[in-house]
């Protein structure tokens, strides 16, 4: 077996593929018929099963082992959620079916909105955004529509910290804004004087903030920041990628954030699917409800309905109602935990992160010596300087130890950084194993650096030549 695409395994067959079938089919004029035969392999079910089962073994999922990928919240995904969402009663619902026939799903959307609104401090959530970045974009369009409604369309700048996720500036530009960067100070907080300066200089529509930040640190000036931004007529946007630190502890709505997106595929235990489907619902304070995407699910006279009436709505951002299957899993996750369980999840995530931070702080540099929230950042800049070992080398060595590496080289403001997020799913035993491996690797940096330079050696491939992939692009098996 090998990591070869199925097209290569069937190369000869594909080369001599039969002409398009049904060239003689009645009712289709010749000029509308497909000419080039589909070069698809013909496989037995056994071949399909072997091929993809083998490919799956080349992957590493949360079920395979520890996955402390910072800002991605790789918590365990409960199997019952998968089973529930896979039921025909949900999967076979056609989006053009009537509201009378889809009451069960509408009830789930309605109640999940209520739950999330309560937990995070908002009036309503929309579930249309299909992922976090889509949620950011939706939230910014809401902010845009709000300012326009107030006759302030000239607010054309969005402020974003230098530690923010790359999606923040990209979403802001897509929403028609210019971006200004706000630097971080030595404590890992926002530089307030620069924030004030920028607010004075530009017509600011909003400040986008992740709190805790991507450094895993809680922004201690948040209430003051909210006042400053609001006083300048701007709104506060909450990037919910790190919301796993907050459930039951503090609400973004109470911190002064007017708009918030969540990543259900992070905080609410729905799987990442190797890159989606996620879900990025957006919650807003009361003053912004009219601008939410439509339709909104409402409950009127004993029936769940789709309310399409808001004239100020930004419109639709998804063909239908978003990634509904993910919302079903979220709804079930909330019921499974209850309010207390959700709070315990956030607490345990914070406890586990602080434990690892404490255990690892002497191995690598801790750039901000504070209590962390659900994740923390370490820097390998010192070992890079002294021993020529980069954080990439460390990451690849972790792979040889059966652990998915943390997020590396992000946030960009910390050199040679690794962002570690253990989540509440992990036991002390797993965390201790990780510490042991990290300690061993730290020793090998000095004693056996080649081991790190050459890693990984245990997987189907070693380090791949990414430059070649761009210089000599090979993007499909057939072209």
């Amino acid at each position: 077996m090998n990591n070869r695409p199925i097209f290569y395994k069937k190369e000869d067959e594909i080369k001599s593929v039969a002409p398009v079938a049904y060239a003689d089919i009645n009712g289709i004029p010749d000029e509308l018929k497909r000419e080039n035969s589909l070069r698809f392999p013909s496989l037995t079910e056994t071949e399909v099963s072997r091929h993809y089962t083998y490919l799956s073994t080349l992957n590493h999922g949360v079920d395979s082992g520890f996955y402390p990928l910072g800002s991605c919240t790789m918590k365990y995904n409960y199997k019952v959620l998968e089973k529930i969402a896979a039921a025909d009663a949900f999967q076979h619902v056609h989006p053009f079916d009537s509201i009378e026939n889809t009451q069960g799903l509408l009830e789930i959307l309605y109640k999940t909105d209520q739950y999330l609104s309560d937990i995070f401090g908002y009036e309503h959530f929309t579930f249309q955004p299909a992922a976090g970045a889509h949620g950011e974009y939706t939230g910014l369009l809401i902010i845009r529509a709000y300012h326009k409604d107030l006759g302030q369309s000239d607010r054309d700048v969005v402020l974003i910290p230098d530690s923010a996720h790359g999606t923040n500036p990209a979403s802001a530009v897509l929403a028609g804004y210019r971006v200004r960067k706000i630097p971080t100070n030595e404590e890992g907080n926002l530089k307030l004087d620069i924030l004030k300066q920028e607010l004075g200089k530009y017509n600011v529509a909003a400040l986008m903030l992740t709190n805790p930040s991507t450094l895993g640190l809680f922004e201690t000036q948040i209430l003051e920041i909210a006042d400053i931004v609001h006083d300048a007529g701007g709104l506060l946007y909450y990037d919910g990628a790190n919301a796993n630190a907050l459930m039951g502890l503090i609400r973004p709505g109470d911190m002064g954030f007017d708009v918030c997106h969540l990543n259900l595929h992070k905080t609410f235990g729905t799987p990442h699917g190797g890159g989606g489907p996620g879900s990025g619902p957006v919650g807003v304070k009361k003053l912004l409800v009219p601008f939410l995407p439509k339709p909104l699910v409402d409950f009127v006279d004993g029936q769940y309905i789709l309310d399409d009436s808001s004239k100020k709505s930004i419109g639709q951002v998804h063909g239908f109602y978003g990634n509904v299957s993910v919302v079903i899993k979220t709804f079930a996750y909330i019921l499974m935990h209850g309010t207390q369980g959700l709070k315990m999840a956030s607490e345990q995530a914070i406890i586990n992160a602080n434990y690892l931070q404490e255990k690892l702080r002497n191995l690598y540099k801790l750039p901000f010596d504070r209590r962390c929230m659900h994740e923390f950042v370490l820097s390998a800049s010192k070992v890079k300087k002294e021993f020529g070992i980069s954080v990439l080398d460390i990451a690849k060595t972790l792979i040889d130890n059966g652990i998915h590496p943390p997020t590396i080289y992000f946030p960009q403001i910390v050199s040679e950084c690794m962002m570690i997020e253990p989540t509440e799913s992990e036991s002390k035993e797993t965390l201790d194993d990780f510490v042991e491996i990290m300690t061993k690797i730290r020793d090998e940096i000095e004693q056996n650096p080649d081991l790190l330079h050459n890693a990984p050696v245990s997987r189907i491939v070693g380090r791949l030549d990414e430059a070649k992939a761009v210089k000599e692009p090979k993007l499909t098996a057939l072209n």
Binding site: S56, A87, F90, H94, L174, G276, R371, E426, V461
Partner: protein, 444 residues
Amino acid sequence: MQSSLFPNSNDEQSEIFKTIGVKFFSELVQDLPKEKLNPDLNVIDALNEKELSQELSCLGEKNFILAPNRSFLGGGIYYRFIPSIVDYLTSRSEFYTAYTPYQPEMSQGTLVSIFEFQTYMAELTGMEISNASLYDGATALAESIIMASRISPKKEKKFLIVGALAPHYRKVLDTYNEGLNYDIKYLEDDDNLELDEELSSIVLMYPNYFGQVLNNDKIINQAKQKGIGIIMGVPNPLALGLFKSPGEYGADIVFGEAVSLGSNPSFGGPALGFITTKTDFVRHIPGRIVGETIDKNDKVGYVLTFQTREQHIRRERATSNICSNQGLMALRTTMYLSSLGKEGIENLAKDIFEKTQILKNKLSAISDFVIDRNLSFQDVLISSDLIDFNELNRFLRERNIQGGIVLSDQDAYWDGLYLLSVNDFTKESDIDDLVCAIEGFINE
């Protein structure tokens, strides 16, 4: 602390606290403003797995769904028979509990299958390259237009969308255009259409929202002569098993919706948007792309590539803000197409085409119906001045039949129009029952 949801025992938890150097959890969150800490939340009682399953199954029962063969809903989302192996293999947790493949050595399973997805989509649409997926067909339309605006050398950002476009595609595009501010116009099909030379691109839906497969040669030739880009939208890619592909037409960008290649309608989401294009435009394509390369021992492997287009590197100058896409849906489509193969796709496309013709023939017996004379695939456009289609749908539903889409409810210009669709499960006897019930409704 001890709870079935969290692994540590009380003893282990105490040890952790001791290591951190705190006695209580509250000491860890001293950075949080005290006055906002521990808000009063509405109490939700936790359910165990059995209770949870029962609760959700009760909610499922509140959706009244018919067997797919009794449903004539389509319009871009179709009931397809999915081979059992697709569900079994995508349920392998190595696939579905993994993150985006940032660490390629540990993600070759995901990367190889996305590479296969790109190959399948490029081949089906007749194009050279494909991305790794987008959210859905509607957002893929918006992304295609953004992409085309970057490719086009023309100063004006002018676009023309020709023919029947799904209203939900149009709504999403209109929303995206709030931030883009392009000049986007919509036009009915017209054989004698004269294209404005200033246009950046035209968009042609194929098949269109009415299920019509129209010959686009004439308009494409005109566009090419005037240096106007060609975007083709494919909301039902199965049709390309029979019909001339966008690549054969000479399209520059193809976008579409592939949810009906291996996945269920699931209330419209998760869906599966995609974009395919020419190799020349690789640096303008939105979303992730997987490419082939080698490791230092010359062993072939797969990586996310052309990442300098993307938001995590280029930030405000990225080609799109997209990060997470619809990875698992792309995996489903890959496995579905691997299961069907060339013959399977061709046979299914032929089967659907023939059923569509049967539906048209049988509906033409209904005197109050005017049936579309264009070539139709899967969806059939019907017009009638006399029939209240909402009433008809209620009448059908009482007879255990789910009627079609009432187009007049979706767009004021579509007065008296109705869309009925066949699917993989439709039997000739279901069509007979439908026609019989419609006649019963008219006679009542």
